[in-house]
Amino acid sequence: MTTYNLTYKPFGKYAVLIEWPPKIDENIFEDVIKFKNKIAKNNIEVLVDVINTYNSLTIIYNSTIKNIYSEILALKSIYKTSSVDNNIKNYCWNIPICYDQKFGIDLVEISTSKKISIDEIILRHSGAIYNVYFVGFLPGFLYLGGLDESLIFARKGKPRLLVEKGSVGIGGAQTGIYPQNSAGGWNIIGKSPISFFARLNKEPCFAKSGDKIRFVPVGLDEFEQLRSQVNLGSYKMERKLINA
């Protein structure tokens, strides 16, 4: 197993930033998540939040860090401990998406510009398994990795003032779902009936960093059925354990 040469930096008086080499890389990401899980396992009480991205962990404390160097030493020794079993389970989630042009308002433009048929775009977009790298930008916005390279498409020069909640977009090499109505510059190819952020739930966002996602195409009728199930609270997410 690779261990990386990590950099540890103070980030203000309340946080420590740990960085891996600056790359979007599955092995690096796996190591980030392993370290994050070890920190969770250590049950350090003063932690408020541990936020990971592709290649970094930011550890936020609830009060000023008295001695940053001894804190960094403590973190370094946690990194060295061997990965032990932990209770953190990661899932692969099936996310229904309706790619009908009623929602996929930029499908024609992508298809024309790339000379790929709309059916083929849908096939390639729903054929991949995506890594959930982290959640940011908006509550419940998943940063996904794994978009088919042939679908990379530059974001719009001028962002739309309103992109509807649930819209699925492609922005450059990234793809993702808008968890709420928002301004946005991504090219919209479909819509999901799923709620990515249920603010009143104990766990408002079902997915977490380290999970995976598959998009499952559904038709307009099924989309409407699923949406009413979601609204009634009777929809059950399909998921599969991936690190059993």
């Binding site: 980030f11 946080a15 600056p22 939040d49 936020i51 592709y54 930011t58 982290f134 930008f137 408002p204």
Partner: protein, 283 residues
Amino acid sequence: MLKVISSGFYTTIQDLGRFGYGDIGVPVSGAMDLYSAKLGNHILGNNHADAVIEITLSKFSCLFENQIIICVSGANLSPKLNGKMIALNTAINIDKGTILTFDKPVYGVRSYLAVKGGFKTQKVLNSRSFFREITDQFVIQKNDILPFEKFSSTIKKPFSSVKINKEHFNSKIIEVYKGPEFELLSKEQQEKLANTEFIISKDNSRMGYRLEELIPNDFQSMLTSAVLPGTVQLTPSGELIVLMRDCQVTGGYPRILQLSDIAINILAQKTTKNTFKFKVISI
């Protein structure tokens, strides 16, 4: 409870913020000037985490429908009870039917109205701090009813005001630590950063303050990473953005500076066209 007569320019409910949800993209929020918000609660003998009203530079006014004890702290926006000026940073008895108004700013930008026991508005993810798509409401509106618990005792007069340090409102020095990407800056850029008197642009809000003066740079874009309230980002166009309490949890611009706790509070009391200098201090 309290009934809002005039919402003012931008008025919200705030407490210390929402912690532990950063990894699902939820901002921290909380009172912009935490020092002043805590002071108000402290004077009333409240818990520091009790919710207060944050009033921004404006003509907020309200009617108290119950007897209560209040304290106004932070900016001096000429608070008046039934038309009569009141002292800041002082516990004040309020009778049922009293009208409290805020008017012209004398100093500062954000004023805090605390009530004995705190406001009991909706709590979502362990905080009452307003935030779009988290709380039902993200800004206080005319005719809103803001609940607080009944409290029938009064404080004995005379009650003296807590003296506050005027530097909190007048200081033009914003203390900062070096941020994670500080080392990207050349000697010249560092000097420019230290010697420039920065003007706050009109684009300033609870999410962040953009500054007018530029620091030209040719930094490569970086991979998205975590940001915190008080993080200073440098954009490719040379613009500096000081992130504030409602900032997103991640960002992709180099984080060249990080404001101290006190500096965030001091900056929260400044607005468009106000000026300041950064002073880099060691951790």
